[in-house]
Symmetry: C2
Subunit: 385 residues, 2 copies
Amino acid sequence: MHEAQRQRTCALLQARQIGAALFASPASITWLTGFAPPVQTGANPFAGAPPLVWWDGDRFTLIVVDGLASLSAPFADEADGDVVSYLGYTLATPLNGAQHLRTLLQSLWADTARARRVKRLGVESWALPAAASGILAASPLGGCTWVTIDGWLAPLRMVKTAEEIIKLRENFRLTDIAHAAARQAARAGAREIDVWLAAKAAVETAAGSRVPMGNDCVVGYRTENIGGWPLDHVLRPGDSLIVDLSTIQHGYWSDSCATYVAGEASPRQQAIHAVVSEALAVGAGLLRPGAVAGEIDRRVRGIITGAGYPVYPHHTGHSVGVTGHEAPRIVPDSQEILTAGMVILLEPGVYFARETGVRLEDAFLITEEGAVQLTTHDKSLAPVA
Amino acid sequence: MHEAQRQRTCALLQARQIGAALFASPASITWLTGFAPPVQTGANPFAGAPPLVWWDGDRFTLIVVDGLASLSAPFADEADGDVVSYLGYTLATPLNGAQHLRTLLQSLWADTARARRVKRLGVESWALPAAASGILAASPLGGCTWVTIDGWLAPLRMVKTAEEIIKLRENFRLTDIAHAAARQAARAGAREIDVWLAAKAAVETAAGSRVPMGNDCVVGYRTENIGGWPLDHVLRPGDSLIVDLSTIQHGYWSDSCATYVAGEASPRQQAIHAVVSEALAVGAGLLRPGAVAGEIDRRVRGIITGAGYPVYPHHTGHSVGVTGHEAPRIVPDSQEILTAGMVILLEPGVYFARETGVRLEDAFLITEEGAVQLTTHDKSLAPVA
């Protein structure tokens, strides 16, 4: 898995004269290896630190606590990678994942120092634990020049591989399923959390497993905040409900939004919805290789303001991958140029605090022939039959 | 919130001549401040780093990205604490949470250095990002003696405050609700994920909000692993299902386990269940101030082996709080002595790989008068009517 990602990374690091590198951010770990530890209840309680990836100038080594090692098995089969694990949970001795990790890291870095001469060492300094950094500094590699490589992989992640497109499509399929369930559940008397649960149940029933789900489920009279997780606010007849959903399967995110109305939409809601729909359609029509992100942002915002509505205070769009919000962003000053293989979300909206809000979002894969829509959910305001 | 926790921490740090300290582990952050950021979809994507807590020898300062600052408002009202936040999400400028955090930390540490003389500085080195450590080293405080304080708060966390007991009780109430729903759903033809969803829906419907939920939902023919998240394995008539549930509300965990059978339990399942029930009851009877953890472990295991069954390969019990598995652990070699205010889970089990498994778990609050059971879920094998 993810050999193309590692090839891109090798090329970048070698071009910048990096001889070895230590990755620590969850996004880098998943992108480099395909390994995606569960997130729903936080970190593994027996791990000394989050998973790390060591690149010795040639091979990638994923370093995980033993309890997660089986989940990383697919990566271990690769020609350019290994998985090493350390003791986490213990019964007969006190828990000490950090000490077991320390021993493993010392051994790994001594091996690298014996095998090759490293002059410049790259580290993801904002994700790497200070203790691991200290162990590295005390190792035979510690004396070489340290280079912070935080964020270096983000540009490499912008163009998705065929393997990533498959993972993303699986997630967009799940959010389509979630939206169909949310539309049915968004009736007067239901609470935000009830609609959310209907969507969540549809996703996990279809997936046959647990699936983390984000983002927003907010009734119109609460849209001062535009977003937010579902609470026990009740939908009254005529209330709008913004349902913005991501699923995370295989470490990859989807994203999509629709707005539902409990019963009949008012003429005002219909008028707002028509303008947001038009803004989304205009944006979608601009998505092609060579398009400039900032220009798409300007054109989509222009539809909203041209209709006399307040412009949304957030981005027009963004990409997704191993995170839910990544480059290229579709924001006012971006000079980023779209290329084939990027996945772009567009999500214009109109919000009137404590009254109603409408946001619509679709995902698109940029190809040489234009944009291919990845989301297929119904975004109409038509009431549930 | 959590003033008692901060008082205990001050006392410990001062007793060990620590003049200032930087906390970074999620457990420490929640325990010190009551602040519990959502975990279900991973870290805040716009944060430079996870939340930190700086103790300047007098006051505690919670350092969070702006998007999380509103969630930490209750702590900000305290006499001994503050919340400072830095810019995360941006629209008009590129995202750069790490740089905004850097500026904030530099300012904070310069202020401390101006106000007081620190000789010994404590840091949670396995959770602190290396970059934050580097900024601290370059600050006016960098020259003092650094002391790693990883794990120092764990012993302080063992005795729960009245405020924590309330939070824990709320979680045990939710897992009781979850078990009632799981019992109803555990019928032939249902999959593990279906039972899980029934429990999850019951919890979130009752809470009126999203609630992270762990731990295991495994059908008998899968109990080689003893634990595991629900998948699409189908319950056949007579299959047992281990349902081990935690909820996380207010940053605090519950934990509890029952074993259900799809239809009528076999005589063998009933016999196993009776022994596991007895082991749990014997363990519960030993819980009182002054009891030694290792001795409880020995006695509970003895019931299982005395009945001729293989002894479970895991701990007999543990505590919960801001994590799902914490001290005191009820394990063979522990000399830990129970005291009033501890919350203890006991969870003996018997497992036959690829056939059936039974585990039962209750939670207890140790008081001067003995153990008070916090879980009230039905742990019988009786089939659903």
